[in-house]
């Protein structure tokens, strides 16, 4: 149920973003890009929440065989992909890695959005308009 709403939200965000970047106004294109990048951010976070509270990087029997030196131990045959969890531990958190990823993505989109907003301001100064159809000086 939760997953359905999440997917729907992501889909609607992508739809709005795509609609906006196809507009003729520069500012709308920029807003569209912002919405698209946030749709991607929600998508990344949704990768971490998977089937209730389970961690997506664990599948199969959830258990890593604990060795003496290391808790990292892949076992592809049993479907254990990335067990940072020791054997028999009850898992009750979402994947922390996706949150680190999304934090990085947010910071990067902040930087690019800031740059493109300044660029839009300069374009408005140079051309006196924010209509994309007027931006044809490179076409000869």
């Amino acid at each position: 149920m939760n997953n359905t709403f999440l997917s729907l939200t992501i889909a609607i965000l992508f739809g709005i973003g795509t609609f906006l970047i196809l507009r003729r106004d520069i500012v709308r294109v920029i807003i569209g890009l912002g919405i698209l990048s946030h749709a991607v951010n929600v998508l990344i976070v949704s990768v971490g929440i998977f089937d209730g509270t389970r961690v997506p990087i664990l599948s199969g029997s959830h258990n890593a065989t604990e060795t003496a030196s290391s808790v990292f131990n892949d076992n592809l045959a049993e479907g254990i992909l990335s067990p940072v969890i020791q054997a028999g531990t009850h898992i009750d958190y979402v994947d922390p890695l996706v949150q680190a990823l999304v934090l990085t993505a947010i910071v990067i989109s902040l930087a690019t959005t800031a740059f493109i907003l300044i660029l839009a301001y300069r374009i408005h100064e140079e051309y006196g308009t924010t209509d994309i159809r007027e931006l044809r000086r490179l076409w000869g």
Partner: protein
């Protein structure tokens, strides 16, 4: 005992980032800033030679940032990445020297040095990283810094400010869309495979394909990656931003963009498709080959119709990158080696051509080829240098471009790709045509006595602008006359790409704590 050579991969990324910060603080003393930056680039070139030599003799080098093994960020230097780093640093060193006299003083002192360092850090980082999300981060670093560099002003003001704004806007919007697509692909890959380490993903994909048919979204992700890297490399349906951005950038930056930055797409394609999606590769090779051929045709045909010299060079870059992808699309060891040789030759020759065109347009005061003419008398050096570059790009024997084209077509014929090679050969003739036409238009014909053809102030190239061009010309000729070392290196690199098992072993069999 900390030995320098063990830390080369991180040094090649950390030093440019650190320098970029230092350059901001040295704004007040331009001479110190200039000299320090040149010195640091000299060091970086030496480091990258050391790295390549170490990888060549000692095998693939894995550097852990932190001690998390394959769960953290790792840097991997194999022959492909260290070779690309060396190429990047040679070209950026020469571009830096060139830009000291080419860029307007105020622009140079304030932001240029910092952004240039960040660009190189982004390039080195994306070549060296072994982590697919980190690849995205470095893509963004080099995207933003290159956008900042494209709007830098050159002396004389040949390119209008509004042109720069418009080109950068196109570039930024398309690149942001590309990064959004890349994030979707990375997130889906992570959701499917549960790891971000490229070697680890490769192991898991091959394990999954051994267990049964691959999940369908692996193929969708592979297609998304074609979009991402095609966008970076200006492959056919995604190439529309390039002919606007590369000409409007200042010439040393055009050299960096056309010489190295679009090669990031080639590198990513080689890395992601031959390492991660190697099981799905046979399905995508015809697609890559088709896109490459379309790129060759579009690039060559569009370049013929250009009057702006730098715009023609940019369209020629589009066409030439198609040849590189053609070798990747054929996909055997020989053709990949050939496309690597092509890549190096194109990088050197195209950087040289862009630097030369910077000298030419500063001499003529315009970028329009119709308004130039008879400049062989007033600018004989630029004329001969442009001829060297043009001959290399169009593949005339003593130059490196001939070896590259020859090796590529020979490898293609050996693998029985007759039709693609025939198309590529036909449009190679187009390359010869538009390059020679441009040369004749600019340097032959009636001399225009008043040298100042355009509105911009014209001036002769200084010594600092001439030296990098001559060095690159020497490299072009040496690559043509003595091609064996490059061919051997490309062959070894291609073997490493086609058989990624040593790479995977080097990354996976680390002692994790």
């Amino acid at each position: 005992m900390i030995s320098l050579s063990d830390h080369l991969p991180i040094l090649l990324i950390a030093i440019p980032i650190l320098t970029s910060v230092i350059m901001v603080f040295l704004k007040g003393s331009p001479v110190l800033q200039k000299n320090l930056n040149v010195f640091i680039y000299l060091c970086l070139v030496i480091f990258s030679i050391m790295l390549l030599q170490k990888v060549w003799t000692g095998g693939i080098m894995v550097y852990e940032v932190g001690e998390w093994g394959k769960y953290g960020i790792i840097l991997v230097a194999d022959l492909l990445s260290s070779g690309m780093v060396l190429l990047t640093l040679i070209i950026s060193f020469l571009s830096l020297i060139y830009s000291l006299d080419y860029i307007e003083k105020r622009s140079l002192n304030s932001t240029y040095h910092s952004l240039f360092n960040l660009l190189v850090a982004g390039l080195n980082g994306s070549f060296l990283t072994g982590d697919i999300f980190n690849l995205f981060v470095f893509f963004e670093v080099l995207l933003l810094s290159s956008c900042g560099l494209v709007v830098a002003n050159e002396r004389g003001g040949v390119t209008k400010s509004s042109d720069k704004m418009e080109a950068t806007f196109k570039y930024l919007v398309l690149s942001m869309l590309g990064s959004i697509v890349m994030l979707i692909a990375v997130a889906s890959l992570y959701a499917t495979m549960g790891t971000l380490n490229m070697a680890d993903i490769a192991v898991k994909v091959s394990a999954a394909s051994a267990a049964g048919p691959l999940p369908w979204h692996i193929f969708a992700i592979a297609l998304l990656f074609i979009v991402v890297f095609g966008n970076k490399a200006a492959l056919f349906p995604f190439h529309y931003w390039l002919p606007d951005v590369h000409p409007t950038a200042p010439s040393p930056i055009s050299a960096m963009l056309s010489g190295v930055l679009i090669k990031i797409g080639v590198y990513g394609m080689l890395r992601v498709f031959f390492l991660i999606f190697s099981v799905a590769l046979p399905m995508f090779q015809p697609l890559i080959m088709f896109m490459a051929l379309a790129t060759i045709v579009i690039g060559a045909v569009s370049a013929v119709g250009q009057t702006d010299v730098k715009r023609m060079l940019a369209y020629s870059s589009v066409g030439q990158i198609g040849y590189v992808f053609l070798g990747i699309g054929m996909g055997s060891t020989l053709t990949i080696a050939a496309s690597l040789v092509y890549l190096v030759n194109h990088a050197v020759a195209k950087s040289m051509l862009f630097l030369t065109s910077g000298g030419i347009i500063h001499h003529a005061g315009t970028r329009d080829m119709h308004r130039m003419g008879g400049m062989i008398k007033s600018a004989p050096l630029m004329a001969s240098m442009f001829l060297v570059g043009a001959m290399s790009i169009s593949g005339i024997p003593p130059m490196g471009g001939f070896i590259a084209k020859f090796v590529l077509f020979k490898a293609g014929i050996q693998d029985e790709f007759y039709l693609p090679v025939a198309i590529a050969l036909l449009f190679a003739v187009f390359t010869l045509f538009y390059m020679m036409r441009a040369w004749m238009k600019m340097f032959w014909g009636t001399a225009n006595e008043a040298e100042n053809h355009g509105n911009a102030a014209s001036h002769a190239p200084t010594l600092l602008m001439i030296i990098p061009i001559i060095v690159l010309a020497i490299i072009v000729i040496v690559l043509g006359l003595y091609a064996e070392p490059l061919l051997a290196l490309a062959q070894a690199t291609a073997e490493q790409i086609v058989n990624p098992q040593p790479y995977i072993d080097a990354v996976m069999t680390r002692n994790v704590r």
